[in-house]
Symmetry: T
């Protein structure tokens, strides 16, 4: 079972950016922990600050993975184009956020992506990724 | 480690209510699965259709449990009083929803509870509860 | 054919509360008139000021009645939970109001319940109940 | 006791227009049923697609009928002029709709007419007319 | 100098409709007073309850009159089409209202016509017409 | 293949009304050009300033034409009744506008008709009609 | 019969300020014309750029004049305090504007004063004052 | 003179809940102070987390007390039903809040209860109750 | 302990202005009652219709008084500048209103001052001032 | 005459993405048909998922083509930057959409691009492109 | 070259008011620094808490200075009258703010003045004034 | 002291794009002038039409410069991601705009960036850049 974890803008700064809020782990360390935490999964990672490259990654994932976990960062609240890409691909996508976006500025309360994802997880720091991978793994393995 | 799972209005109908949407498991079966899934935790359950009794349960939980997982059902979108109760108690609370509330009617897109919970999980059916318990367990066991 | 008439908050004060607006009949008298007016129906009545108890009554009605007439009073405009209960039960529900809610304060112009009821009747005083029972009776007896 | 039933735009298509929604009875058949259903009343009917002719009909009704039942169709949501006509005439008017307008597009949720009518009935198909006539009959015969 | 006074829906009821608000003069009496009040002007009058006929009257006025005074009644707040007709004709139009529309229901506070008329006069009862004719007379006679 | 071109309020003034915006062709000339431009089609034309007569034309078109091109003028933004008529008839309707309504006043940015038409074309002057007829011709001739 | 004409902020610049819009007459010339135009009236004038001094003038007018014509300038759209002053004094007040405020920026479309004045006149340049004085004269002389 | 002090959800936690905000006095201590502070009054107290029980208490108060002081907590902002109960009872009600609700989250800025209470007092901590009792005492003792 | 009572626009008309609403006491009489009611306090009074002079009074109060009670009248709803003045001075300010502003026009429901005052009192007529002085006295004398 | 057809995000998936909605033709096939359909034009094509590259393409088009047809996909509703690019280039741009965006989610009802394009065409599937090219061809060839 | 620096309400408190936010320099010291910083300019200063006096100062500036720098304080967000004054005078005006108003309360995000000023500068403390004077100096000296 | 000037979409067209609005200087010339104007600073420049590359530039600037001046063009109003990048980097950022964005279309009135920048400057054409560099230079050199 192959899972792609897609990370949006500024997540490459994890570990150095506002460590009080986002913790001191780098994105790379965080992804390593995911790989260790799910030894039965084949987890790959992609990060870009460019909206269109995130769309490219989502489109390309169709042929190579079984599910996607996405933290679209600031594009979460503004990108109809990423939303369209999620709808366009026939594999399940789970939305994750490290921070509790409902407790931040009002423009972060609405996600354009949630309605077209399988589900959403927010507020648990690095653990949001673990829960997201767990969610998509459960979804893919349960009988429907 | 003791966890209370609080269920709001109409969740007592699980299994019979719109099974296509909410699955065919009853609330009781779902709670049994949680207990089995987390053998190292002491999980108890409360359900009520009465807003004030949910508040009572949250207030009373302070002395008996280490964390709360809440699916407040329809009160999620209207109850300032439950929000105040969550703020008033010093233990962590995780919000869960079985359905993807962002993909339903617009009045369900805003949760009055999210901002005062540790985090939120929505859209994974019965699995939302498992992820919620996992989230609070991780939170309580990690070093801060 | 069994019909349950559910009455929400403050309707127990009928007859004494603002008689110019709501008339001088008590709720009990009004229900007695309904029973007399529809001798071929088995009409029962429930009233509570507690939102959750109205939900309980709606849930319990499934096994005992063929249709529900509800005047949810002030909860009409705020209760997602009662709305969910109406959706959750497989029997038809008709919404009634004694006063013309469109002619009152703006926050009374929107009903959260109308969209999930069979239909709505408002503005005819005590007669709204008679029309509501007539509506559900016609619905249950017509061939579909 | 004379009652005028006023029908607005597109209601002349009843029976052929979206029969799944509006049923297979023509407007003429529906009016015939009303006459049969209320043998003690003198019921007449008017239909027009022209907003101003509906106003003419309302104005002219003053001298010839005791009450009006109106289904203003699409003008329900946009016509201040029909609203003004209802206010201008000293006879009671009841608003009816065949469909449950609260369950349709958002621009149909607000009626400009409700606040100036005696009351409103919506959602019961052809039966909405019967309930509307019953409502105005009761209103005219009760002692005030 | 020829002036056309255009009257919209329900204004044909003047004198009988809500005399406390609109006075006891009929539209015909009111127009007669205008003719008497401005002996140097050639004043004609048109009234219709049909929006499109008001548009026809405005279009036709181009060849026969020098200016228009319009009380569009309930169409004031809803008619983009009348607005377009006013823009389309090269003669000046003055908007008048008998009642103080700013002191009535909120949906009457906005006029779609004001911005494309020469100016607006509201709140002076029958005198609003006199002031409107005076305004257009002054406009047409002043040197520009 | 028969096509009806329906024109709403003030379009009878084309050629004389604001020629800088709408060009110097009359509606009649414009329709003649359409007939010449599509020699294989049977194109007829209807114009009225009365909303209800436009509805009548749409209703009557069902039996006589294969498709409709409509420029509803100012009623585009206010007429639920015309929208209902379009839904009620089983033939395809294409919406056209000569001006770029998105570049004009804000109340012109929303069309009540677009969502129930096959598609919309705006901004190309008289050419909008040609494109509209081409669109409906292509739609009717393509295999579905 | 004594009339006070109250002028708000920036109206002291009339004649020099944007003459294309406001004309080339000074406020003083404009007031002189009013006096000449109404030889049977005793017309006085007050101007201030200070909101509170306009309130003072309104309050003081009670004992000395029979009616007020006010052009509150920019305070028209923001001053609850001037509105309260108009309500507090028992003499009639007419609102005038030289420009057509409905055709200017959106924040000028709403007047806080209109609803508490006798009526409003806007768009006729210096003539708005003449019409305003005429309106209040007619009001004071008509039998009520 | 008998006064009932009604306390809504979460106020039973006073003294332990966020003492920096709400002070360290328990609700019981606070009520004792009220009794001591007003030796000439007969003050009783009611608290519940259940919206409907607060309505019950308000309804029952009619026969036993002369006035009510209510702190409806989180229901202040959401309960049309409590508002209706206040309107339904013929005794005066004063609204109090310990915190300055205007300085908190935006959804706390609007109270559904204020408009139907005698008056409102907010922001003075425990002293808000004293001022509330003083207000109702003054109201009941002054000659009207 | 010195207290300044600041009164905004139109409050100088108390006693003569709408006595049904505001009572028949003049502002002077009302202030005299305050002095008598609080013999242990040194109470002074200021009134102006000019927004800036109210700001001056607030600024000057810093050196001469221990607390301020303000009824800003119509400026309550529009003055960011008075709000800034309250924030700028280091002494406590209590907001009072004689009428129940929540029960009046919608533009009076929001106070720009409440959030930066110690607390607010509204609806008790002249007694609102007494309660306001009592509130600030209690605040200044309690141990913090 | 050279025309550039610019395609935005996810349009590279045409043919495989939701074929029920978007048809089974690939973008390449669709562009080939355009070339065949307009043998007298020199049509080139550009597609990118990256917003900035679409801007680059628009900027570069100035020197090489006479007109642009753009389907900006999801960026239609969010991109001020693409709008600015259209304004910045001196060649005409026509907006096209395959689906009827007015009939989809509400956030798709507003296009930031329409107001600065020559005109817009939506709802005709692949045919929207043909109509768009026809529109710009007509525009470029007509005498102005 | 003569420049007037206009300061609005509460800016006379600079140095003592919230020094952490506004710095410890008094307005007088700040103006002295401006004079020293621009030895080639003739800089004068005006401050008032009264809105109308700020308007007076702007009007009077026409004859005596070449440009104006204004910090309108709290009137920035509420004064249509000051906006009108800026439009009425033919000399350039630059808007400055010491604090970053976009980072403060939402009602401070909109300035009524920006659109009619040459430009705006906010967020640089006392330095905002220096930049403002520099901006107007550059504007006045550049060739146009 | 090193300063990076970041330019967003379409600014590469300066000099050729709407020269009446943006002047005839190219971006390159404008940047050269900045270098000449601040000989004591080390000023570099970056421009891209791609949102993500602007984020990259901001992230990379941390190690190489002391401050940033950004003109984000059309992304100013839509990019949460650029906002997040500004927050994520520990160096000061100043926002500049050549045009007066408050005087343009309404969607340009709100900047998502202002609240997280040191301050903002808009409306002074090319001079906005000079003022921006001056602002950041002053900020970096002043003692804090």
């Amino acid at each position: 079972m192959k899972i792609l974890v897609v990370n949006g803008p500024n997540l490459n700064l994890l570990g150095t950016r506002e460590p009080d809020t986002y913790g001191s782990k780098t994105l790379s360390e965080l992804m390593d922990e995911l790989v260790i935490g799910f030894p039965d999964l084949d987890i790959s990672m992609f990060q870009s600050n460019v909206e269109g490259e995130l769309i490219n990654a989502l489109q390309n994932s169709v042929e190579s993975v079984d599910g996607v976990v996405i933290n679209a960062g600031g594009y979460t609240h503004t990108s109809v184009a990423i939303r369209d890409a999620i709808v366009a691909i026939p594999i399940p996508v789970v939305e994750v956020h490290m921070s509790n976006i409902a407790a931040r500025e009002e423009f972060r309360h609405v996600s354009l992506l949630s309605a077209v994802c399988l589900g959403s997880i927010a507020g648990f720091g690095a653990n949001s990724y673990h829960l997201g991978v767990q969610a998509i793994k459960s979804y893919l393995t349960e009988v429907r």
